[in-house]
Structures are given as C-alpha cells and as structure tokens.
C-alpha cells in the first residue's frame, strides 16, 4: 500500500476521530445500498426462495450452466492458444530487420487493436455463414475465436515487442558478439527472456479473453451468458440467473488475477520480472544502464 504512505501521515487523535466517523459513514453506505437493492427486489417479488433455490437444482446445472461453462472455456482456450501464436509471429515481425515486414506487421497489429471486438465478431460471423467457410454449427464458435484471436493476438504482439525492447541492450550485443545471427539472437536470447517477463500480462490477457467470450452471445454462440438468459426465460428468474452467472465469471477471473499477481511476485523475486524502470513511460536511458537481469 504505497499509496497510503505517500498520501497520509500516521493519524493523530483528531484524525483518528475523523476516521472513526468516516468508518461509520462507510458502513452505513454499504448497508443502505444493500438494503435499497433488497427492498426493491422484495417489492418486485424477486426474493421468492424458489427463484434462487432452482439455481442449485441438477437440471439447471446439467442443461444450462455446465454446457455454457464448457463452451465459454472452450472458446477462451482456443483463442488464447491462437492469439499467442499470432502475437509471437507478429511481435517478431514488428522487430524484424526488414523494413517492409516490420511495416506490414505494424499496420496489421495497429488495425486489429483499434477495431472493436464485437464489430469483428459480427462481420466474421456473417462472412463465415454467407460464404460457407465452416459448417453452420461451427460458425458461431469460429466467429468468436477469430475475433478474439485477432484482437488479443495484436495486444500480445505489442507485449512481445515491449518485452524485447525492455531487455538490456547488452543481451542482444552479447549474442551477436558470439557469432549468432540476428534471428538466432531473437529466438534464443531475447524471446525467452521477454516471454518470462510478460507472463503476468499474458495471464491478465486471459481474463480479457474469458470476459470477451460473453460477446459470443451476440452471434448465437451458446456460452455462459447465453445460459443465464435461457435460465431466466425458462424459470422466469432473470435477476437471480444473471447474478449467479456473474458470480461464476467473477470467481474464475478473480482467481486468474490472483495467479497473475503470484507469477509476477515470483518472477520479480527471481529478478526476471517486468523491468519497471524501462516500462514506465519509456524513461530513456533507464535500460541503457544495462543492469544485470539476474
């Protein structure tokens, strides 16, 4: 909590009294919000026990939640693998020695980074279905995976590039001086270090992908959000169904975030984490100092 120590002194008696008042205010705020929501739920008959208990029945799980969850994870898993491949190829392309290749990869990456995922999903879905690229039952999955791959792959390409850039210059120079060719330097010296450094960011990107699979419901992909909507119509308990599915999403994503944090701490303990000095707004010279990586 470095923010705390910058902003605040150790509290004296008056500050402590003020903090106590603010604590009471915070508790009242929280209780009032929960109370208002529950009161509104009650007024509209959303607190009937059956509406909530049905969520734990076997039918709901076997027919909606488990299939939806599997579809969500399936799309996310395929997308992360493809996005990683895309990101590696285009990230290396942007670092290539050939200007034309660098330029083409740069345009592609910047383009897909600035186009909304949903726009790509709508387009790829109609494109696939009107041109019969895949069989019709695979089209939604293909559209989701394509859009997520192109967007997140571009983001990962940028991660690769900035990861390689943040390495000390001496690493590449040492590689060249022992007689490796530039592509060899990239493959066997720079990439492995950049990849370990960007591992936390990669896990974070997985959260983004998992959340964005929910866009699939717009192109009729039967994932977890679609399951929530189906439960809502089937059992007329829309609000409980949405809240329940939101909790599932939050639990999965939050644990991924925790994993990302652990990985980051572990890497920085080993001295291989993201290089803070070089990353922050590109402080020139900070990495030129060539502090040893480990």
């Amino acid at each position: 909590m470095s923010a705390e120590s910058v902003l605040f002194d150790a509290p004296g008696p008056r500050a402590r009294r003020r903090h106590a008042i603010l604590t009471v205010f915070g508790v009242v705020l929280a209780v009032a919000t929960i109370g208002a929501v529950l009161w509104k739920f009650k007024a509209q008959g959303q607190l009937e026990p059956e509406m909530w208990t049905v969520l734990f029945s076997a039918d709901v799980w076997t027919q909606y939640i488990v299939p939806g969850l599997i579809k969500t994870l399936e799309a996310a898993a395929i997308s992360i693998v493809l996005a990683l491949a895309f990101g590696l190829i285009f990230g290396m392309g942007r670092l290539s020695q050939h200007r034309a290749l660098r330029w083409v990869c740069g345009v592609i990456v910047e383009f897909f980074r600035s186009v909304p995922v949903l726009l790509m999903m709508y387009f790829t879905y109609s494109y696939f279905s009107s041109n019969g690229v895949f069989t019709s039952e695979i089209n939604p999955l293909a559209a989701v995976v394509t859009a997520l791959t192109l967007y997140n792959g571009s983001v990962i390409a940028e991660l690769v590039r900035s990861g390689v850039f943040s390495l000390p210059k001496g690493q590449a120079e040492a590689g060249v001086s022992i007689g490796l060719t530039p592509p060899q330097v990239m493959r066997s010296i720079q990439l492995p270090q950049a990849l370990t450094a960007m591992l936390p960011a990669l896990v974070g990107q997985l959260v983004v992908i998992l959340k964005d699979t929910a866009l699939g419901t717009a192109v009729l992909y039967p994932e977890l959000l679609q399951a929530a909507r189906d439960i809502g119509t089937g059992y007329s308990n829309t609000i409980p169904a949405y809240i329940f599915v939101a909790i599932i999403f939050i639990l999965i994503n939050y644990s991924l975030t925790v994993v990302a944090g652990r990985v980051e701490r572990r890497l920085s303990r080993r001295g291989r984490g993201p290089r803070k000095a070089a990353q922050a707004t590109g402080v020139v010279g900070a990495d030129a100092a060539g502090t040893p990586t480990r």
């Binding site: 923010a3 902003l7 600035s114 949903l118 939050i250």
Partner: protein, 225 residues
C-alpha cells in the same frame, strides 16, 4: 458499393457511438474518481468497499452488465430512466441504461488509472513536503495530487479508447450505434469486406486522435524525475 452505403445513415450511427462514449466517459470519470479517493483513503472500510467494487466490476463481462441493465432494473424492477409514457421510452431507456452500464463498468478502470497515477509519486515527495512544514492539505494540494494527475493521463487515455470501442456492446440491447448498423447492412445486403472496412475505419478515426492526443499530453505533462 457506394450506393449501398448511401442508403444507410452511417454518420448518424457513429454520432450515436460518440454520444454513448461521451456521456459514459463523464459518468465513469465521476464514479471512478470517487472510487479512487475511497481506495487511497486512510479509512479501511472505504478502501475495502472501493476494492470490492473494482474487483467485482472488472471481472464481470461488460456484455453481461449491459444485458442485465435492461433485463433486470428496467423490465423487472421497473426503473425507467425516461418518462414511461413517451412513445420512445423503450429506445431511450436502452440508450440510457447502456450509458449507465458503460459508466459503471469503466469506472473501475478509471479508478485503477487514477490510483496508478498516485503510485507514480515517490514517497520522498510527501516526506519533503512535510519536512518543509506543509500541512497535510497543503502537501496534498501543492505537491502530491498535481503529480498524481499528470501520471494518470496516459492510462486514462487508454481507458477512454477502450470505452469508445466498448460502446459497440450496446448493440446487443438494440442501441442503434455503428456496429448494429453494420450488422444490419451485412444482413440486408452483402457480407463484403468493404462494409467491414468502412466501419472499422470509422473506429480507427475515432480512437486514433484520442490516442495521439493523450500520448502527447502525457509526454508534455510528464514529471521529469
């Protein structure tokens, strides 16, 4: 190709995108600032509440929030954001609830951007301010917050760009913005790459200047350390 595009009000659709982005950006900035203040405050319970909000909202899909805003609060809880009897009540509620959901969602990211700005201020700055005898309020006003805001410019810019792109999600509840119009055109006419490129270019045009502006702003305002 051009005659197909001329039949549709593409600029109007992008105008809706801009309006969505504008109003939800303001909302997100207001909520996000309150959250950021809570998260860096010395009061434990406020910090916890802020962290709870950020962790909850940041890990929920935006699509879920937008679907829920119209299905839950509007249809079931009957919370209308416009005059219920006006003929355009449904459309207007769609737009306004989409703005609410977008603001609520991006507020979490605004909060984190502002907080990261506070984190760029070295501890020595506060200590130096105290040691020359500034009071708490003075050191906050004169030394820490100015640096914190300047450090937050670049991440705030990325949030604004993400928000602009995320307005497309409002199309899932039928808000007539750019991506909904594109899927209509594709449905009615042809799934040609040109149509996609026109709309994609529209978004590039919307987001590119924002990115350039915020990057140059953050460079200009960067605190030399």
């Amino acid at each position: 190709m051009l005659d197909i595009l001329e039949k549709y009000d593409i600029l109007g659709a992008f105008w809706m995108t801009i309006r969505l982005a504008f109003f939800s950006a303001i909302g997100a900035l207001v909520i996000g600032t309150v959250l950021a203040v809570m998260r860096v405050s010395p009061v434990a319970i406020l910090r916890r509440l802020g962290a709870f909000y950020v962790n909850t909202v940041r890990n929920t899909p935006l699509t879920l929030l937008i679907f829920f805003s119209i299905a839950g609060p509007y249809y079931i809880l009957q919370i209308s954001l416009t005059d219920k009897n006006s003929p355009t009540a449904l459309v207007d509620n769609g737009i306004r609830w989409a703005i609410v959901a977008l603001a609520v969602y991006h507020a979490a990211f605004v909060c984190e951007a502002l907080r990261s700005g506070v984190n760029t201020v070295p501890l020595g700055q506060a200590e130096a301010a105290r040691s020359i005898g500034l009071t708490f309020g003075q050191s906050l006003r004169e030394v820490i917050l100015p640096q914190a805001f300047r450090g937050a410019v670049a991440p705030l810019g990325s949030v604004l760009i993400a928000l602009t792109k995320n307005t497309t999600v409002a199309s899932v509840i039928g808000v007539a913005e750019a991506s909904l119009l594109m899927s209509e055109i594709i449905e009615n006419e042809t799934a040609s790459v040109t149509v996609f490129l026109v709309f994609a270019l529209g978004f590039v045009v919307l987001t590119l200047p924002v990115g350039v502006f915020f990057t140059s702003l953050s460079r200009r305002l960067a605190v030399k350390r």
